[in-house]
């Protein structure tokens, strides 16, 4: 059952990354990346249940903290960027 859930999450991640690479505006790309981070965290937890090892959950904690800091610094870098 959890293999099917991981497959659905993989399809959703591929759709979201396609939205990241196809969009024109930089902030729409950033919003799509924010959704992709949460889907990747859910996929890590699903893999942690499938393989019955708990170190993937620790990696999910580190990924959650680092994705937040990454989004925050990208917005700080593009603060004075004149879009179109």
């Amino acid at each position: 059952m959890w293999q099917i859930i991981a497959l659905i999450l993989l399809i959703l991640i591929v759709l979201t990354l396609l939205r990241v690479f196809m969009s024109k505006n930089i902030f729409e790309k950033l919003v799509a990346l924010d959704v992709a981070n949460i889907l990747v965290i859910s996929l890590l937890l699903a893999f942690s249940i499938i393989s019955r090892q708990s170190f993937l959950a620790d990696m999910a904690i580190a990924y959650a903290l680092l994705s937040f800091i990454g989004v925050l610094y990208v917005t700080k870098y593009y603060k004075n960027y004149s879009a179109q």
Partner: protein, 97 residues
């Protein structure tokens, strides 16, 4: 076990609606509205499903739900902050809502 699959179906429906909203909404701010759907309700029900899946707790299997609750608290703290930062940077660059 049954309650876990019920919660995971709700969570996958919310994730799919969030990704659909990324494709269909026209603006940055409306896409932020759709992104918050995945950040709150999708992950809350996903974490509840993991807690109910490993329900007879013993010393080994309690390691996963504790980490899932910690990740849920981190996302509930940092998700609105990241959304506010994106909206503030988009507003300072002159994108009209």
């Amino acid at each position: 076990m049954f309650l876990s699959y019920f919660f995971i179906s709700i969570s996958l429906i919310f994730f799919s609606l969030s990704v659909l909203g990324l494709f269909r909404f026209p603006d940055v701010y409306t896409k932020l509205h759709s992104s918050a759907l995945s950040s709150t309700f999708g992950f809350i029900f996903f974490s509840l499903s993991i807690v109910f899946f490993t329900l007879p707790f013993d010393k080994i299997s309690i390691a996963l739900p504790i980490r899932a609750i910690i990740i849920l608290l981190i996302i509930l703290l940092t998700g609105p902050c990241a959304a506010h930062a994106i909206a503030r940077a988009a507003h300072k660059n002159g994108i009209k809502p």
